[in-house]
């Protein structure tokens, strides 16, 4: 046997909170030899060494040369990088070195608020660690567009480990998988990690959802303790827009439809403008399809991270079209999105009246809710309750608002 080598991870001047590892096995290599260069060698060098030796034992690798350049990677990152390098050598024997669960995760509610969802590039751990402190409604560990093809396998392991190790602080735990068939491998890795929601890219036909459903059913059978995930298909083409309703109805796991306008505008042969006339039909269609299916409609990302006023206007427009949420690519966008989706004073006042009327009707055992001479339909009541909840969440009213009426 000659020498075989593999590497995984990232190194370089701009890399932080990550590590790069190379493994060498074959003729003349005896024992586990480690060459560790670490930014935190004084503080954590010994524990990094212990971890590496434990992993070699776990995978039954007795003769190997290991080189690691560490820029302050947390243990779950080191584990993922080493496992990826081992897998690339074909020495993993189908085993996974899983970090222990660090936090308890509760299943997210089906109709929870999904105003903001922050994309995190799946192969860049430095963005994972503090994302939740910016309080998005959802955090997306992205395995699709933000991960280069040669890094897909390593990112998948990293994202799997992150789902077990990072405190999401109440944000919905989302993963965007790759298109099928690559997406199947993603599902196998992430579904057992109590992921709340899977974003499915470039959905054009309901059959794509059904294929994913079959795979998820299979994985769930083998992993009874994990969560049955929700889906958020992303519509990014003319065909997807035309099939939006049947896509929305394709699985009971779907809780929202999202639109991705970069690819959509290319598909219809035009370009994105700030005004957005070219996408008005698609966005409206998507909102209608989602609402007809009883799920949420989520708008595309706003990509100029320096233009907060533009973002605010874009969210207000999205809200007026019927969207429930917006994608974001920078933590500073989250607050602006939440503020723009917050109900106005007028909306709150109206909602308060409706909710009080509804509660009054319930107390009196009346079948119908009425406000003055007007009858109020159940969807309006539901909407009003949601407005009140959102106002509470944003601190616009306090818990005992009823007493203040």
């Amino acid at each position: 046997m000659s020498i075989k080598t593999s590497e995984a991870g990232n190194k370089g001047d701009k890399i932080r909170s990550d590590c790069w590892v190379s493994l060498k096995v074959g003729d003349g290599i005896k024992g586990v030899n480690l060459n560790l260069e670490s930014k935190v060698k004084v503080l954590y060098g010994d524990s990094i060494k212990d971890l590496i030796f434990d992993m070699m034992k776990f995978f039954g690798i007795e003769d190997v040369e290991i080189e690691m350049i560490d820029t302050g990677a947390l243990p779950f990152v080191i584990m993922a990088r080493i496992e990826a390098a081992i897998k690339r050598l074909g020495l993993d024997k189908g085993k996974k070195y899983l970090p222990s669960w660090e936090y308890e995760f509760k299943r997210s509610e089906r109709d929870r608020f999904r105003r903001s969802r922050l994309y995190l590039p799946g192969d860049q751990p430095k963005f994972f660690l503090n994302a939740a402190i910016h309080k998005p409604d959802g955090l997306i560990l992205d395995l699709e567009d933000s991960v280069a093809p040669p890094a897909k396998d390593a990112a998948r392991i990293l994202v799997r480990n992150a789902l077990r190790s990072i405190d999401f602080k109440g944000a919905e735990r989302m993963v965007r998988i790759n298109q099928l068939p690559l997406g199947y491998e993603d599902l196998e890795e992430v579904i057992p990690q109590k992921v709340d929601l899977i974003l499915i890219p470039k959905v054009e036909f309901p059959e794509q959802i059904k294929e994913i459903d079959r795979k998820v059913d299979e994985i769930l059978k083998e992993n009874p303790d994990t969560f049955d995930p929700y889906y958020m298909p992303i519509i990014e083409s003319a065909a997807g827009v035309m099939n939006a309703y049947s896509i929305a109805k394709a699985s009971k796991r779907i809780v929202a439809l999202a639109i991705g306008l970069e690819d959509y505008t290319a598909d219809i042969g035009t370009q994105r403008t700030n005004e957005g006339r070219e996408s008005f039909f698609a966005r409206s269609m998507l909102v209608n399809a989602a609402k007809a299916a009883g799920i949420q409609a989520i708008d595309t990302v706003f990509s100029d991270v320096n233009d907060m006023e533009g973002l605010r206007e874009s969210v207000i427009e999205a809200k007026s079209l019927g969207f429930d949420g917006k994608g974001c690519i920078h933590p500073r966008q989250i607050r602006v999105i939440h503020e723009a989706f917050a109900p106005t004073e007028k909306e709150i006042e109206k909602a308060k009246k409706i909710v009080l009327a509804f509660e009054e009707a319930e107390r009196k055992g009346l079948g119908v809710v009425s406000l003055g001479s007007k009858m109020i339909d159940p969807p309006v009541v539901k909407r009003a309750l949601r407005t009140i909840n959102l106002a509470l969440k944003e601190g616009l009213i306090n818990e005992n608002w009823r007493d203040e009426q």
């Binding site: 935190v40 503080l43 954590y44 524990s47 302050g72 947390l74 660090e102 920078h330 933590p331």
Partner: protein
């Protein structure tokens, strides 16, 4: 190697040197416990008859000026850092000293920067015996490895003034780089290619040194106005081609940090100041140009606008953000200690309410009061904070010298001191059991703001009560420490340090609060 140090345990429980480079020093006695007595130091008596009647004190080179000032082995030579990482003068001074063949000098800079890396060759060759000032970058590394002949001493800006005034440090020759000067020696930092704003760091040196040399690349005919440095203190004026690299002295425009985490921490700190009732009409705050500190000022500006609040004064380093606040009427005055961008320099030149200050006005321990203690809210950085709120600003968690003290210790006297810091940097916990080096006693540090919660010093019951019932994420510092350790994967190991003491850290009153030991590779 064994070292025979004379040490004592000081009031903070740290083993410190009582003799440094052959001179006696006093261990830290506790905050506000040490008070030197007697009379202040003074420079020798000079008479005008020994100086040119036409006021022209020019000599042809730095070397010539040093020679005329009688440079010899073992002297103390001071320089200043108002040209920051663009300063050419300190290097020129020691190159000249080396040519003159003198040895064992004490370099007494107000701070050093990476541009001073060439000083290392003079430390190696014995031209310089040791540094008393700040050490960062290559000089910090050199010192940390125990390569300096003598023991370094680090002082705050105020402590530097104190040491000069009470005679702890006698400056033989002060060399002041001046962006603008006249042949008499009047100088300021407002005009010229190397304009840096103000020259306050050189004030003590001009008044107390035996000899004072002004070096400029922008000589104007008498009078140079305003005279931030008075020519009446100056012995010689030297004209050189360039005193510094303008692009590294001040930035064209100061950029606000783009780090969402830092912005969040700064925003939380500003919100805390508001909800604790500190931000109100007529209040004052101190702001620096560092990432989080600057962002704090920017968020404070938004808060002040929204709530129609106006400050009486802002103290600290000025940037375009502060000058905008001055121009928008959000503060009556800027009391500027260091100017960080061209807008700051312009404003100081044009706006009488943008006042230059010095360590004498702001920080000096032997002044009859100083400004630092009059500031309502101060935000500062730190490399580490421990569960007793003690903080470190000079060494990295692995024991390496990293930063100078600057005005940091002096600013701790502000009425409310907030340290907005991340819970961890990469994998390095910032909140720890015990700081590697003690620089700031916990009793002066009031609030730690991290991205994962805010800890209030239990001594500040007033602040704890003031923010009760708000939505601020108040937690205990122990909780924050545990969270940092959990995220970073356990308690960090303590660095193994050598026996050799490479530096002593002074408290603002001149006592020794801690020492720094050699870093082993």
């Amino acid at each position: 190697m064994k070292y025979n140090y004379k040490t004592e345990i000081n009031a903070a429980g740290r083993e410190v040197l009582v003799e440094i480079n052959g001179e006696k020093h006093i261990p830290f006695k506790g905050v506000n416990k040490h008070k030197p007595t007697g009379r202040k130091a003074a420079p020798p008596i000079r008479s005008c008859i020994d100086y040119p009647w036409d006021g022209d004190k020019r000599v042809e080179s730095i070397k010539e000026a040093l020679k005329k000032a009688g440079i010899r082995d073992g002297m103390t030579i001071s320089t200043h850092h108002h040209l920051r990482n663009g300063d050419y003068v300190a290097n020129m001074v020691f190159d000249a000293a080396a040519e003159l063949g003198v040895k064992n000098l004490r370099w007494f800079p107000s701070a050093s920067f990476p541009i001073h890396a060439p000083i290392i060759k003079h430390l190696e060759s014995g031209v310089i015996h040791h540094i008393e000032g700040s050490m960062n970058g290559p000089l910090g590394d050199f010192t940390s490895r125990g390569k300096m002949k003598g023991t370094a001493i680090l002082r705050s800006h105020g402590g530097r003034y104190q040491a000069v005034q009470d005679g702890e440090v006698h400056i033989d020759i002060a060399v002041i780089s001046a962006p603008c000067a006249d042949p008499f020696g009047n100088a300021n930092g407002l005009y010229g290619p190397a304009a840096c704003g103000l020259l306050g760091f050189a004030l003590a040196d001009s008044q107390y040194a035996d000899y004072v040399i002004v070096v400029t690349d922008n000589l104007v005919p008498f009078p140079c106005i305003p005279w931030q440095i008075q020519g009446n203190y100056v012995d010689y004026v030297v004209e050189v081609e360039s005193i510094g690299d303008p692009s590294k002295i001040v930035s064209g425009t100061t950029q606000l940090t783009k780090s969402p985490d830092r912005l969040l921490i700064a925003e939380m700190a500003a919100q805390f100041a508001l909800e604790a009732g500190i931000v109100k009409n007529g209040f004052s705050f101190q702001a620096g140009a560092g990432g989080t500190s600057l962002a704090f000022a920017v968020f404070l500006r938004d808060i002040m606008k929204k709530n129609n609040i106006k400050a009486r004064f802002v103290r600290g380093g000025s940037t375009k953000y502060l000058t905008e606040m001055l121009e928008e009427g959000l503060t009556d005055y800027i009391l500027d200690g260091q100017t960080f961008d061209l807008e700051g320099v312009r404003s100081m030149r044009e706006n009488p309410n943008h006042q230059d200050t010095s360590p004498f006005t702001s920080y000096n321990f032997h002044g009859k009061g100083n400004f630092a203690s009059m500031v309502d809210v101060v935000v500062l950085g730190a490399t580490e904070v421990d569960v007793n709120f003690n903080a470190n600003v000079v060494t990295h968690s692995d024991g390496r010298l990293l930063h100078g003290i600057g005005g940091w210790q002096n600013c701790l006297y502000g009425k409310t001191v907030i340290l907005p810091i991340p819970l961890f940097r990469d994998r390095i916990p910032v909140i720890v059991d015990e700081v590697t080096t003690l620089v700031g006693p916990g009793e002066l540090i009031d609030v730690i703001v991290t991205e994962r919660g805010i800890a209030i010093n239990p001594r500040r019951k007033d602040l704890i009560n003031a923010v009760k019932g708000t939505n601020l994420p108040i937690r205990s510092i122990e909780e924050l420490k545990e969270e940092a350790e959990k995220i970073c994967g356990g308690k960090p190991k303590k660095p193994k340090l050598g026996e050799k003491i490479v530096a002593a850290i002074k408290w603002v009153d001149g006592t020794v609060i801690d020492v720094v030991r050699q870093v082993l590779d």
